[in-house]
């Protein structure tokens, strides 16, 4: 079975979703272009696509993540994998073609959105004494696109590793949103470990992708994340056994890893971030700067225990809610 045949086959299956998504992105591009003209948001001088990108970026982020999540979750719930796995071709090859198709559609949609946006405002730039600054524009576009692809891969990871439709959506979205707090928590931990201020620890924000070193670093980091997620998903697709389709977590042998990752991740993200500290501040009516360390430790333990119980309930025995909260072995 050739790559072309698989491509055609998958295109036929996903085309409604992918074409809709491309269409939506083009409409968002046109809409933002019109808004920019309506509110005269074009400054004098060099203008890049990223100069005004609020709606486009938000829509693209949502679409990239949702498509990544939906494609794999849908295949589980509609049993399309049953067909894919009986094809006379290695799973790895199907996965590569599938990822290629999704990435190509998402990138095309994104580029068309930018083109639509550019076309809408292009004729009016001269009126505002502005011009396209291509030297910077492509660098920023590359970073944005890399970030969006990483986000899409994150969605795919949740779509592939979780078997439950609703759980996949809730946990995937929750995790994506929590990344902001995880980053904040990590900065705080690094700052505490190195004895520097939190602002000094926020080195990621100081990367300026308009210049070559910043561009290489930003794109390199994002591609590193993407390659990691791709590897994780490729392994999952290779090792999917469809009797686990209806399970919350589709790889029973890796349940302990998932449980302990969730416990550590949530303990750090909630207890060490602005979110957790703000929550603690609200509960204790104290400023977190003067809060005793023991309070933070109590919170971390509570979060850890909560994740332990809920994790065991979801991952192992949805029918044994009470037992999940004990220290007894569960299987």
């Amino acid at each position: 079975m050739t790559k072309r045949t698989i491509w055609k086959l998958l295109w036929r299956h996903y085309r409604t979703l992918l074409l809709s998504v491309i269409g939506i992105q083009i409409l968002v591009g046109i809409r933002e272009g019109i808004t920019v003209l309506e509110y005269r948001l074009i400054p004098r001088g060099g203008f890049t696509f990223a100069s005004v990108s609020g709606w486009r970026l938000a829509a693209a982020a949502l679409i990239f993540f949702a498509v990544g999540l939906a494609v794999f979750l849908m295949d589980t719930s509609t049993h399309f994998n049953q067909y894919l796995f009986s094809l006379p071709v290695a799973r790895r090859k199907i996965f590569r073609v599938k990822m290629g198709l999704i990435a190509a559609s998402l990138v095309s949609g994104y580029l068309l959105m930018e083109v639509a946006y550019g076309l809408v405002i292009n004729n009016r730039l001269a009126k505002y004494h502005a011009y396209w600054d291509w030297s910077v524009a492509w660098k920023l576009e590359l970073v944005q696109l890399s970030m969006l692809l990483a986000l899409s891969l994150l969605g795919m990871t949740f779509g592939l590793w979780l078997g439950h439709l609703l759980a996949g959506v809730i946990f995937g979205t929750g995790f994506a949103c929590s990344l902001v707090f995880a980053y904040d928590a990590l900065n705080r931990l690094v700052a505490a470990a190195l004895g520097v201020s939190v602002n000094q620890a926020r080195w990621l924000e100081s990367i300026d992708a308009r210049y070559w070193p910043g561009l290489v670093l930003a794109v390199g980091l994002l591609w590193l994340v993407s390659v990691g997620l791709y590897g994780l998903d490729a392994w999952a697709f290779d090792h999917l056994s469809l009797e686990n389709d209806q399970e919350f977590f589709r790889f029973p042998s890796l349940r302990p890893v998932a449980l302990w990752f969730s416990i550590i991740y949530l303990m750090i993200t909630i207890s060490c971030s602005q979110f957790g500290l703000g929550l603690l501040q609200l509960l204790t009516n104290q400023y977190y700067e003067v809060m005793p360390l023991s309070l933070g430790i109590v919170m971390a333990v509570l979060v850890g225990y909560g994740t332990w119980g809920l994790g065991r309930w979801f991952l192992y025995r949805p029918d044994h809610f009470r037992r999940a909260w004990t220290m007894k072995k569960i299987s």
Binding site: L9, H13, Q82
Partner: protein
């Protein structure tokens, strides 16, 4: 081109669903896969066809391991009646997908059968009745021209006439000597006279592999009546009791020899009669366990 299943093992929810299953099938055979509910018949089909991954063992087609050489999957066709994406698709869409997967797909045969059974090609399969849906699955499987077809409860929900037609299609396919069909079914009466071999699964293991012709020549089903309700030991050691009603006992002896006949006569039954042996009797003889026996008794 032989299909060989070697030491296939599969655990689901930490329970051994399939344990060391080994058998071979050759084109020209109609094989019944028989077992009680939940014994692993569907899992066996799914594992052989790559939808479930085995924990151990191999599936070989003409000596080629399917996991390493998936190109040989075109030799196998299993369309899961429970888990498929067809509900939202039309016959034509599904046909296109299977045509892409099976290079030897016989469109003429497919169209002919679709027309013959008056299935509407542009109608979504979710609008089909259960019987028509199952009928479509069989037509699709037959049209793939894969030498090994796996059919899970294929006659479920079909009316008598369609069932008869379908069976004749399947028998024709096998009679050509180029294809083998493995049928998993609870309805043993339907398999009777159709399959020439029965694989009996119990607790995830293949407990018996009967060539039915040989079996019919060797085995006997005997109805015995004794003076009292005491069951002679011989019936349990040499045979398998399939039915007890008062003093009437029906026993299946898989290896009925003149010596055994003499031993049986020595137990002094007041009445003894040979009954026709059916696949159901073999099923009962192999799969009735102690609890069932107590119920029978």
């Amino acid at each position: 081109m032989i299909l060989a299943i070697e030491q296939l093992g599969k655990r689901i929810n930490q329970r051994a669903t399939l344990t060391e299953i080994s058998f071979t099938v050759q084109p020209g055979q109609m094989v019944g896969v028989v077992g009680r509910n939940g014994v692993g018949k569907t899992t066996l089909f799914r594992t052989i066809n790559g939808q479930c991954l085995p924990d151990s063992g191999h599936v070989l087609v003409a000596g080629h391991d399917l996991q390493r050489e998936p190109a040989y999957r075109t030799q196998l066709c299993f369309i899961d009646p429970l888990a498929n994406y067809f509900r939202g698709a039309t016959i034509q869409e599904v046909r296109r997908d299977y045509q892409a997967a099976y290079p030897a797909f016989d469109q003429a045969k497919f169209d002919q059968l679709i027309t013959r059974y008056q299935l509407v090609p542009n109608r979504k399969l979710r609008h089909f009745s259960k019987g028509n849906f199952n009928l479509f699955l069989i037509i699709l499987a037959v049209a793939t021209n894969a030498p090994y077809l796996f059919l899970d409860e294929p006659l479920d929900g079909l009316d008598v006439l369609v069932r008869k037609n379908i069976l004749s299609i399947l028998i024709d396919e096998v009679a050509g000597g180029q294809r083998a069909i493995l049928l998993a079914s609870h309805n043993l009466a339907e398999l009777e006279g159709v399959v020439d071999r029965a694989l009996i699964l119990k607790d995830g293991r293949l407990v018996n592999d009967y060539q039915l012709e040989t079996m019919r020549a060797q085995a006997r089903k005997v109805q015995l009546v004794y003076r009292d309700k005491q069951v002679p030991k011989l019936l349990n050691t040499a045979g398998r009791i399939v039915h007890v009603s008062g003093r009437v006992i029906i026993v299946v002896f898989e290896h009925y020899t003149p010596e055994l006949a003499a031993q049986l006569a020595a137990t002094e039954p007041v009445f003894q009669e040979e009954l026709p042996l059916s696949l159901t009797d073999l099923f009962l003889a192999n799969l009735t366990d102690q609890a069932d026996y107590e119920l029978l008794a």
